[in-house]
Homo-oligomer: 492 residues x 2
């Protein structure tokens, strides 16, 4: 199975597409641009959801659910937001099908069931949510309102790729309301920090925290915070965004509150989200030519155990030992699966688990039973060792932590060595062409320069890093004055 | 707050609608027939999801995700299913909006962005899933395929009610594929049993397990198993269904497998689902004129603690005791919330928690501190007692179990006393009119009789109970021969 995977050096894009399908993560569906998330891929997404949901709740957020549809008149209320998403909206215009008189057995849209007002399938939920918040917020006592939603959204993208860009995707979207600007900004920053922490501690992906430039900002936001990650091919991937929305939606939907001082004021807002796109980031950061590599903190199975036997009696003996071992591994909080399928040979099982990125594999044969040993294989380094069963639980726990931090350190090292300071445009183009990665360069702060650099090189400003220091410099393109370096890259 | 609730005897339907809104469970949205599930309501749904998900996984099912949209040509492939849902389908016809030249600042559907093939927003996912399974199933080795999906679905209902009947609702839908008819039937029965177990052990709702008659069957099913519950107003509510789909979808989508014997055979199928409708059942089974009553196993907070104080110093003293108490309650697995809001008086807090159905309330005042006591109030019986803090954790655990079983027993008693055997149609009409509940009566097995009874009385056959015994009898309407009693009722 793994053998058939195109190598990364040969064609990175093809490698990715093949890997997603062969590792049973997702596949294209009969609906243009929409994917089917297969059980193994969905199990990883569920682990992500569980951790993020815990982090949201620990910071005081509650989940709720808002309608899938947004009436057109609400959708267009916040003009910038509407303009930003109008070109990719799926629109429901009718609410009934009927038998097609010209084609027996076929259906057609019932022309008499046209909606008075068209419904937009949510590309994001600010409009429907702020229209709802209007009824929930009267006084400062109702604030802050800290709500998150797990949902599907639809953006009709022309070019789609599994997980990275799909017409329908799954995500969470937080929508909060505050009585002051400062509190809303602090919330937007906090949630971006949570995304960074999640990426680093669970996905083992180092990220740069930063602010988007005006042209890359979310439609309707005053400021967009983001986390940017770097993939193995030197392209950047926006992994999460957190928006300070100012009073834009409060004004569009007339949401005011009575302050402690008895004044009527517009509410301040944030929204923030991560999506199944994170799956793409996870895959592209760690995986290799043999297949997926999963960090233990997000692996549906951290260990798989494969028995190697010839007779039923041997199988039974091995299974007795394995049952005991699984019990003690589980008591240490390790997730383990016993692959006792009788339809596959051990070699085929090894290949499958390698392709699917299971962090550790234990193989037990009859000779192992005699010796009190097992074969222990690491997915990240592809190394194997023979080790005693006695005390293996503790060893495994240490190893899983080691794999988790080793994956992170490898990715961090890649990111660091692929972040290049450049001071001339020649150098800029050279690095972009021959090395890739983030380019740290001075920029004069104008949209014109940003656009021209994009036009010439296809690189965009990924973010103004939050930790960017003030230094006098000259714009890498225009030569005009600049006080800060920003990060450029080609991006997904 | 609670005082404003219409009483059940006055207007049960109005009581329900008010309760859902006032207890902060859900509200109507700007989108016709679509609801907003508010944080408190959603927290209950999350507890339901967690338990059901665990039960599904323990029986070998995995979660996955399939597209929201179903191309019309796939939707119509299984004709009965398509016919059953065609009249309530939301249809996406366009994929873009544009600026409306006649109305500056407004948007309109871009006439150039018409889809070649319309997309149905899934009312249920058999079509898109079986079209996908075609690629996943080749051999008996690929079976059984045991998959569940948590998702939103849309059915354009004309008359909607919060939770009970909404245009969009949340649900889970299991879709399994099997190599034999027997195995598929066993799966459909197993999932119906799981629903019954969940209703009884978590929702504290006794249910009747049964089979639907042909006219009440799911469109596309060979057999529909169901669980039926009885609400306090004597109306029945279908709380879950599990369908044996025969080979209908396998034939419609040409899904065959190679059997062990090397033959090509069509695959056997089931599908099964429960939805946010369960919230309606939960509310209507237990709640009273003061508001919601929640079984402890599904309450977001099993206990709420309210401090009663005048000075900051008193508050601090109470809080010290409460923090200690919460820690030891949590160590026993009890979920507890400390309501220390300074914007509400104790009386208002009591009313709110009563309205929201928190099973137990603990109030602690300064005199309690001196005496080492608290006031402990039960939501189900509305009784109060003063009890010592010492040993209260164990008392609370016992009480929560007692409340859970007491709610179940009360509902069971209601169901039993409201299930009436009748042998004449006069009696049938009399019981239906004056007592309500399930009517156990003989039926001749014809659709004509079923339709006529429905026409005359509005009662439908809820199910043929699985435990219905064979006995010679005469149809309550036609007088024709019958071998079994079935359950009639007016239903939600």
């Amino acid at each position: 199975m793994g053998k058939n995977l195109t190598s990364r050096s040969e064609d990175y894009s093809k490698w990715y597409n093949e890997l997603v399908v062969k590792a049973d993560l997702a596949e294209n569906s009969a609906v243009r641009g929409c994917m089917v998330i297969k059980p193994y891929g969905y199990a990883i997404w569920e682990k992500m959801q569980a951790e993020l949901d815990r982090m949201f709740k620990e910071t005081g957020h509650q989940n709720a659910y808002f309608p899938l549809f947004v009436p057109k008149s609400l959708f267009e209320a916040e003009e910038k937001n509407a303009e930003g998403f109008a070109k990719e909206c799926a629109v429901v215009t009718h609410y009934r099908l009927q038998n097609d008189p010209d084609n027996p057995g076929k259906l057609r849209v019932d022309p008499d069931a046209k909606l008075e007002e068209e419904l937009v399938v949510r590309p994001t939920s600010e409009a429907i949510i702020w229209n709802t918040y209007k009824g929930w917020i009267q006084s400062y006592r109702d604030l802050p309102l800290l709500i998150n939603q797990w949902a599907n959204v639809v953006r009709w993208e022309m070019r789609t790729r599994l997980f990275l860009r799909t017409a329908e995707f799954l995500w969470q979207e937080g929508h909060t309301a505050h009585s002051t600007k400062e509190e809303a900004i602090a919330e937007a920053e906090q949630m971006n920090d949570i995304y960074a922490e999640f990426a680093q501690n669970f996905m083992a992906i180092p990220v740069v925290k930063g602010l988007k430039t005006e042209s890359e900002r979310f439609a309707g936001a005053d400021e967009t915070y983001c986390i940017e990650a770097l993939m193995q091919d030197g392209k950047a991937l926006q992994a999460g965004t957190s928006h300070f929305l100012g009073q834009n939606f409060a004004k569009a939907f007339d949401v005011k509150f009575t302050s402690k001082e008895g004044k009527q004021e517009y509410v301040w807002a944030t929204s923030w989200g991560v999506s199944t796109r994170l799956m793409g980031a996870l895959i592209m950061t760690h995986s290799d030519d043999k297949g997926l590599v999963l960090p233990p903190n997000l692996a549906p199975n951290q260990i798989v155990i494969v028995p190697i036997f010839k007779t039923d009696e041997q199988f039974e003996e091995i299974t007795n030992v394995v049952n005991h071992l699984m019990k003690s591994l589980r008591s240490k909080g390790v997730t383990v699966k016993y692959d006792k399928r009788d339809t596959l040979r051990p070699g085929a099982k090894f290949a499958q688990h390698e392709l699917q990125g299971v962090p550790l594999r234990i193989a037990i044969g009859t000779r192992d039973l005699e010796n009190g040993t097992v074969e222990l294989a690491r997915r990240d380094t592809l190394s194997k060792e023979t080790t005693t069963i006695d005390g293996i639980e503790d060893k495994v726990v240490v190893l899983l932590e080691e794999i988790q931090s080793s994956l992170y350190n490898r990715a961090l090292d890649y990111k660091n060595t692929h972040t290049t300071k450049v001071d001339t445009f020649e150098e800029f183009k050279d690095v972009l062409e021959n090395k890739g990665g983030f380019i740290s360069a001075h920029w004069d702060g104008t949209i014109e320069t940003e656009d021209k650099i994009k036009e010439i090189t296809k690189a965009t400003i990924r973010c103004v890093p939050l930790d960017s220091v003030n230094e006098d410099g000259k714009c890498v393109f225009s030569g005009n004055k600049s006080s800060k370096r920003v990060l450029f890259a080609k991006a997904y």
